[in-house]
């Protein structure tokens, strides 16, 4: 950690707090992944890590390199934007796949496929 000696104290404290908060939220998300009872409850837990956890760590990294190199270092925004865009897509795909598999097996834990409404006469086809 010799490169961090010239870091001012306020920046060190803020970076340390953000790092600890991000790591703690990631741990909470992973514990939720381990402890919650079924898949549809479990799929919510890791989103804590993918939004708040990685967000806090990226903020800490941005602040650290900005102060250390005395110029704005903003490329961490790339990861933030990417995670925010891709996490809902992947998890919804995964949940649909799981719902499809559960319905095919006739599992009693998921609602059945809703009956398709009959087309009315004269309605647009």
């Amino acid at each position: 950690m010799t490169h961090a000696v010239e870091l001012p104290l306020w920046a060190a404290i803020v970076v340390a707090c953000l790092l600890l908060l991000g790591a703690f939220l990631t741990l909470v998300g992973s514990i939720g992944l381990l402890r919650l009872r079924d898949f549809y409850a479990r799929v919510h837990a890791p989103t804590l890590a993918t939004t708040l956890g990685i967000g806090c760590v990226l903020l800490a990294s941005m602040l650290f390199f900005t102060v250390l190199q005395t110029r704005p270092v903003l490329h961490e925004v790339l990861i933030t934007a990417f995670m925010v865009l891709t996490t809902p897509v992947t998890l919804m795909l995964l949940t649909r796949a799981s719902l499809y598999r559960d319905r095919r097996e006739g599992s009693p834990d998921v609602p059945p496929i809703p009956a398709r409404p009959l087309p009315k006469d004269g309605a647009e086809r």
Partner: protein
């Protein structure tokens, strides 16, 4: 002083992230069904990306950022492909 604060914060953050990765690995190994394992793998990818960012702060080298970006990209592609496989039985139709 600031180096000491940062050293301990980075150490504790790395330990917390390692514990988080252990939780994800346990779920990956015991997950009752395939979708649980895929979800655990996705969590593992995200945790690895966060751990690499913390490594970048520890060493002061911006190179780790690119590795974290690559891991998050590959994690997205892998999870999307696995979900497609679970849904349809094949990835590319």
């Amino acid at each position: 002083m600031s180096a000491a604060i940062l050293f301990w914060a980075v150490l504790v953050a790395q330990l917390l992230l390692a514990a988080a990765m252990c939780c994800a690995v346990v779920r990956l190994l015991q997950g009752p069904r395939a979708q649980d394992r895929v979800l655990a793998l996705d969590t593992l990818y995200v945790n690895a990306a966060i751990l690499l960012l913390v490594f970048g702060i520890r060493t002061g080298s911006p190179l780790y950022f690119e590795a974290a970006l690559l891991i998050s990209l590959l994690g997205f592609v892998a999870t999307a492909a696995l979900a497609k496989f679970l849904l349809r039985g094949e990835v590319i139709e």
